[in-house]
């Protein structure tokens, strides 16, 4: 079943035409903020998930939050859907345009507003790139910890909206654990502060709720992030295994013994070979799996954990443990991992990246399951995992030019996510649901839970104008997707209205 907007089950579109929208916004916003020509709109037709495209009718690029407020008020008055967009690196179609709506790109709001050295925080606009924060405070010996692999490009506003993780979130947490407060514009155009400089605030924890809300509850206009001192010492180990399942078990063994690496990444044979061809990182071509394990912290602590770490890995069957001796070698170890996506991209014309999570102890079972599914669909799958926190990125290789291959890849991906749910995990660890996984939400949640999400959305946005129809499927969609669970022999939602 397609993820495309279907008015019958997803609800009616606004019906606004481009010229009507243009007339509406030309009245209240400067001309240079409005893009309406086809060639200007083309770059906005998809985010990082390029398999799904839909060109927006209009893109607004505000310079200031005052303009943004004007825009939201105008949209609220006329019931115009707003699709916020940061850098457009999202991998779930969260910033995909909707017909009859307007896209708001926040990239021009890209100033670092304040760095509080004493409190070690930075206040930045939403369009600031993730890495730009760390670069700006590097001279102070500080950095911003969450480091999605897309960090040179993705925006902090997008990070909040997706609750982005990174290779170091095992130890340092996700975006939600590193943001102290945001300023945002609500669906009625009011500007509010949520959270702030304190460690807790009166009322419900709306700050947590905004994280991962995919631009559906509010537009983020300022973000205050925590800064951390750079680790004194950072050691990177490249660990080889002759069996993927052994590698999977080693991850749990290290953590179970009380060692928390800063990052613990895993790649399987196909990913290793692709990365090696691409990046020449010196990965062992004959290994069935490698772990990249990074230990950081105070010098004495990192040094004292070297021996116990090696002992555990050896006991779990590591065939080789290499520690990077030079910064150059360390960079290379990471280069292989960080270029895994483009590297795999050379193995086939297209790849489709999944994002399920599982309890770590299920790594061996999920690997077996993925291998079987790969065979069933006759599509290769390369596995790259944030193994330390059980977040999988199986990359499904296919060729969109061959009829039916995209559908097959989608179906295979859907089965992998269903497997994750079955093993006690979830359908997305960090990339978000967006439009892409809208159907799989019907597997993860029951109707009453989805209704609770919809009610939560309504509490913020009664008219449903903020990024509508992302993240939470309508019950009508789920009923049709047919994955709803049958209760007491009753068909799910026979009474449901179809739009």
């Amino acid at each position: 079943m397609t993820i495309a907007h279907d008015e019958r089950i997803d609800g009616p579109l606004s019906g606004w035409q481009r010229h009507e929208l243009l007339a509406m916004f030309e009245k209240c916003l400067p001309a240079h903020c409005i893009l309406s020509a086809d060639e200007e709109l083309k770059p906005f037709e998809c985010d990082g998930l390029s398999a799904y495209r839909s060109q927006p009718q209009l893109v607004i690029l505000p310079d200031t939050k005052e303009q943004l407020i004007v825009l939201v008020k105008c949209c609220a008055e006329n019931k115009v859907p707003i699709v916020p967009r940061g850098a457009g690196t999202g991998l779930s179609g969260g910033a995909m345009a909707i017909d009859g709506g307007v896209m708001v790109s926040l990239t021009r709001m890209n100033q670092i507003l304040n760095i509080d050295e004493r409190r070690m925080t930075a206040k930045v606009q939403p369009g600031v790139r993730n890495l730009a924060i760390s670069e700006a405070v590097q001279n102070l010996g500080l950095y911003y910890a969450p480091d999605p692999s897309s960090q040179i490009a993705c925006s902090i506003g997008g990070n909040v909206a997706e609750n982005a993780g990174g290779v170091h979130c095992l130890k340092y947490g996700l975006t939600v654990n590193n943001v102290l407060g945001v300023e945002c514009i609500l669906a009625d155009g009011s500007l509010v502060q949520v959270g702030g400089d304190c460690l807790d605030n009166p009322g419900f924890d709306l700050l947590a709720l905004l994280h991962g809300s995919e631009g559906m509850l509010a537009l983020v206009t300022e973000v205050t992030v925590k800064l951390l001192p750079k680790p004194e010492l950072c050691r990177t180990y490249l660990v080889s295994f002759d069996d993927v399942e052994k590698a999977g078990r080693a991850v749990g063994a290290v953590i179970g013994k009380g060692i928390i690496p800063a990052g613990m990444e895993m790649m399987d044979k196909l990913a290793i070979q692709a990365a090696e061809d691409f990046a020449h990182a010196g990965y062992p071509r004959d290994a069935q799996a490698v772990l990249i394990c990074e230990m950081d912290g105070e010098t004495s602590d990192v040094e004292s954990l070297d021996a116990p770490l090696r002992a555990i890995l050896t006991e779990e069957g590591a065939t080789e443990i290499r520690m990077a001796r030079t910064p150059e070698e360390q960079r290379k170890f990471w280069l292989g991992r960080k270029s895994a996506f483009p590297a795999v991209g050379r193995l086939a014309p297209d790849y489709y990246c999944m994002d399920g999570t599982i309890p770590k102890r299920q790594l061996p079972s999920v690997l077996k399951g993925i291998a079987a599914l790969s065979e069933k669909y006759n599509l290769a799958v390369a596995n790259v995992f944030h193994a330390g926190d059980g977040n999988l990125h199986p990359l499904i290789l296919f060729d969109a030019n061959i009829p039916e291959q995209l559908n097959k890849a989608e179906a295979l991906g859907g089965e992998i996510l269903a497997l994750c749910v079955q093993l006690g995990g979830c359908i997305t660890g960090e990339h978000g649901v967006g439009r892409e996984k809208i159907n799989q939400m019907c597997i993860q949640f029951e109707g009453s839970e989805l209704e609770q999400f919809l009610a939560t959305k309504k509490a913020f946005d009664p008219q449903g104008i903020l990024n509508p129809n992302k993240n939470i499927p309508t019950l009508a969609r789920c009923a049709e997707f047919g994955a709803m669970h049958v209760h007491d022999g009753q068909l799910p939602f026979p009474e449901l209205e179809r739009f």
């Binding site: 419900f204 709720l209 004194e232 004292s304 649901v433 939400m441 597997i443």
Partner: protein, 377 residues
Amino acid sequence: MSTKLTPPIEKLIEQVKQATELGSSYVIEGHATKSAIWKPEKGDLLSTKALNQVVEYDPSELVVTVQAGVSIVALEALLAESGQRLSFEPPLYAGQSPENKGTVGGMIASGLAGPRRPWSGGVRDSVLGLHLISGRGEYLRFGGQVMKNVAGYDVSRLMVGAMGCLGLITQVSLKVQPLPQGVSCYSWACSTTELLDRYAGWQRSMNPISGLAHDGSRAYLRLEGGLDSCSLFASRNDLTRCTGIKNNGDFWAGLRNHSLPFFEGDLPLWRLSVPPLTDLASVLESHSVSYLMDWAGAQYWVRAEQTDFLRQLVTQHGGSFCSYSCTNESDLNVAGSARGSVALGDMNGSILLIHQRLKSAYDPNGVFNVGALHESF
């Protein structure tokens, strides 16, 4: 994925549905250890006592799943057997009996964290998922037992500090952490200002600090981490030569659990939440009130009859304050009741509206803890 419900949960659901029909309300009760900090308007007691199971614990996952009625003490003992702990040091306030020092459900609902908060995060940072019974009597599951999960909105974290206003939490999955290899504590005489200035320097490079407090005359410092890093930090900063009790672990337990002499007596107790490294010492001293600074200057405990200057102080620093002696009706009127509650009229209008709408989205008939967080819901 559907869940098989156990009889105690089915019974609770039944009770909630009944209240919905009758238009009555409940006050959710665990061990009733936090009655000093909150006061719902009315309702029959609804106990979580029967929810006493450890659902799942696998130390190598760093995740534990327990039901809401499990005692915090029992949970911590379970974790300690595998060399792990809750990172946020939930306070264990004295209850009706020595074993009853708080339930996991109350810990989540109140969202209170101990002295380690600035360095290891709060309750919300450890919550991975939970199950709850909504005010409609529906059994709902949010989040999960995995470290990362962005499917749907983060309703689990929304429940932290919500004082049970949005539903009855039946079970929760928490991220846990390994016990540190080394712990050492130091105390010496110096001013609050001096201590905070020193800390401002320390925090700019890696350090094993996990507690920083001041009682108006002495500094208290706790280090947790690798054996070497703790002793190195201490010697580098001349901490070994500090006078006073070296292993003042009792101080930290007393601060966490409000069992220090400071917390005894009848003078009203207030909690101030301000940005880290806020120095309130001179103002508090000029009003001759006794105080305890915690969380490296982000949390102050103050004993005072009069509150006008406290209100001014927190407003000036962009913080908030609340009463910790809610048994005293008049205190309730000047500040909010619970940790998360708000002094009347202090909340931005749009934000208050969202609170009210969320309350009706989760508990439309006002079954749970009415008035616990705000007079309007």
